[in-house]
Structure formats: structure tokens, C-alpha cells
Symmetry: C2
Subunit: 205 residues, 2 copies
DNA sequence: GTGTATAATGAATGAACATTCATGGCGTGA
DNA sequence: TCACGCCATGAATGTTCATTCATTATACAC
């Protein structure tokens, strides 16, 4: 029987792909809950409802699995960044979109994204080293955004690198505030408040 | 021989105290470098130049040791907060002092303080739970500060809790910026820039 | 139904690590 | 000099956990 799907994948292969994804998602949940060293492969297996050995049919090692979780999220993040942020004409709007995106991914990936994202170099832990390239690309995008705003004369003259880090810090604070004092009600309101406050700073008056 | 010191401690006791402190400081360095699960008691022993068993003469367990490191830094932080921040008459000045303090402790405790401080609840890791009380007290202090500023009419009307989290986020971003792009030169300049930017926001115009 | 290929399983293995404790050394007082 | 405590020591112990692999189940072709 030949693969007749658009994707060029047989049912078998699609099933295999689904299993892989299920393991990845289970792993994400467990890593988020227990941290890298705190999670055992067995706990991931239980969460994914597979046997330990099966995990190893898909991933070379626990480390490989962790890296795969990171890369999946990192890639997703970068894609959304290009779709939602880099397409904005107006730099102010683009920065607003960064905050929105942060909230969106936080909702989708819960604690793991926070973990992934509070990023920066904590110690020289080789675990966090895996996240660094993403973090750096992200900062680079932000810097570019601000630079453009300055060049176009809509933002004040400030070190774009500095502002990039501030965007990061403020969106961290925003999600942390929400996580710790989730007023249940309006995340939207919070985001608008944050955007307004931040852009008031940046915009040329 | 009786204890004749002002402290009421014999030489023996003072020596014991020094050893305890040396272990604590070695542990801080290693935990900062390798993370909680990544550090072995043996690596701490080596760093402190004691044998493993000796560590256990001072601390019940690895966990106890880690908690002790946290509490030591947390207490120090709270003390400095009271000394440097809460004594400021002017609320703006007080918030400026928070940034200064953050930089000071970052310099003194290096990566560990960043680790300790990027705080908030990452997963439900019981390790980080130890930091939470300190984090909460800290946020409470900040909130009080802002509230006072608003009451006295020097700050705009904003949710003081929100501002408290923003102070936290911005000082994280500041130290991260410095850590990743340490221009060698002026941390002082960076702090002033950060203070000025942040307070411009907050101050009633 | 039988044979074959592919995937899932989980008990077994070995390494890493927290913790213990029997031993040894050193300073102090007699 | 000897005896007594107090620490320091690090080899030994038991546990936890990543990883392997021989076995079993499943799906499919004929």
C-alpha cells in the first residue's frame, strides 16, 4: 500500500508522528512541573501512557528529549514572531504585538514557557545553554524593531539594545503579575495597560 | 578556659563558626554554577576544602544546606532593604535605592542572586518554594513604597501592585543586560539610565 | 492461518549520588 | 607524657534513575 496522503505519509508514519508528539507534549508538562533534573524518564512515560522503552524508541536520551522540547517551542516562537510581529508596519504596533505574543505562548505552554523564557544565562548550566540561541535571536529581533522606530522618528533616541531587554523584563513582570495575582478577569486589560505604559516611554512626544 | 570574647564565644566556637560560613559560601558558589540538582555534595566539599562527612557535621542534608544558603541571602537582602530603602524619605529616592540595592547584591552574590531572584514560582518545585516568602515580602515592600508615593501625590495613580512587579521586571532586565553585554565600563551609568526612565513614568507631571 | 516486520514493553544493569559511621589525628589539660 | 574529646575523614551502603535489550504484541501481506 502506497502513501496516498497529501503529506506523503502512510497511516503508519502518521501514527508514529502522533506518538512522537504525544511524548513531546507529555515531556513538556512534566519538565515544566518538576524541572530538568527533577523529572525522571519514568514519570514522562507514565504521563504519556507509554513504557519507558518506548520513549527511547523515539529519543536517544533524556537530554535529547529535553532539547527537542526546547527546539519545538523555540521554533514555534520564532515562527509566530515572524507572522505576528515582523509583519507590523508600525513599530509601536509591533512592540504591542510582542506583548500579545508573549501572553499567547504563555497560555499555550504554561510554566514551561516561563521557564524557557526567563532565560538568560543562569549559571553555566548546559541545560539552559540550549535556550540561549533562541533568546539571542529574540533579543536581536526586538533590537531591530526599536532601531527601526528610532530611524523612522517615531521613538525617542535610546539604545535599542537596552530597550530590547526592557521589553523582555516588562513582559516577564507582566506574566508574573498575572500568574501570582490572576484576577481571573482580564488578561486583556493587563496587556493593554502594560503596552500603554511602555510605549508612552518610548514614543517621541 | 572561659569564653572571654565580647561575643561570648570561645576560640573553638569562633573557628567552628568560620568553618560553617566557609561551607555556606562554597555551597553558594557551586549551587550558582550547577543548579540544585546539578551539584553534588562532594563538589561542595571539594570547593570548601573539607571532606564530605564534615559537611554533614554542619548541615543535616543537602537540602538543609541549600535552604541555609537561601535564608542567609534572603535575610541579608531584607536587612539591606530596611537600611537602604525604607529609610528614604522621598518615595522616588526609595525606588532608586531599590535598583542600587539590586546591583549591589548582584555583585556580591553573582549568579546565585539572579537565580534566587528571578524567583516567582517556576513550576511547583519545592526548591523554589523556599524563596517564595522572601519574594513576597519584597513585593510587599515595593507595593507599600508606591502606595505611599501615590498617597503623597508624587506618583501618578497606578495600581501599586502592578508597579511593584514592574520594578522587579525592570531591575531583572537591567542586570541581565549588564551580564550579557557588560560594557566593562559603567554599571553606574546603566543604573542611572534605568532609574531615570522608570521614574519618568511614575512621577506625576 | 502463517510468516514477517515494526513497535511496545518493563525487568535487568550499572552508574551516580546522598548519607552514614568506624577510624584517625590533633589540641588541650593534667 | 598520657588520656580525653572533638572534629575531620572518606570508604562503604543503599537508593534512585538513565539506559538497554530480550521478549511480546500488533498489523499487515499472502
Amino acid at each position: 500500500m502506497e502513501p496516498s496522503e497529501k503529506e506523503g505519509l502512510s497511516r503508519k508514519d502518521r501514527e508514529r508522528e502522533r506518538h512522537r508528539l504525544e511524548i513531546l507534549e507529555a515531556a513538556e508538562r512534566v519538565f515544566a512541573r518538576d524541572g530538568y533534573h527533577g523529572t525522571t524518564v519514568e514519570s514522562i512515560a507514565k504521563e504519556a501512557e507509554f513504557a519507558v522503552g518506548t520513549i527511547y524508541n523515539f529519543f536517544k536520551s533524556k537530554d535529547d528529549l529535553y532539547a527537542s522540547v526546547i527546539y519545538r517551542i523555540g521554533d514555534e516562537f520564532m515562527e509566530e514572531m515572524e507572522r505576528d510581529v515582523l509583519t507590523c508596519k508600525d513599530p509601536s504596533e509591533a512592540i504591542g504585538a510582542v506583548f500579545d505574543l508573549r501572553v499567547k505562548l504563555d497560555a499555550r505552554h504554561g510554566d514551561f514557557f516561563r521557564l524557557f523564557f526567563e532565560g538568560g544565562p543562569k549559571g553555566s548550566d548546559e541545560i539552559h545553554a540550549k535556550m540561549r540561541p533562541f533568546f539571542e535571536k529574540y533579543v536581536e529581533v526586538l533590537r531591530g524593531l526599536v532601531e527601526r522606530g528610532v530611524r523612522e522618528g517615531v521613538f525617542n533616541e535610546i539604545d535599542p539594545y537596552f530597550v530590547a531587554f526592557m521589553i523582555h523584563g516588562v513582559s516577564n513582570a507582566m506574566t508574573l503579575y498575572w500568574a501570582l495575582r490572576r484576577p481571573g478577569a482580564s488578561m486583556a486589560g493587563l496587556v493593554e495597560r502594560t503596552k500603554a505604559g511602555f510605549l508612552a516611554h518610548l514614543r517621541r512626544t
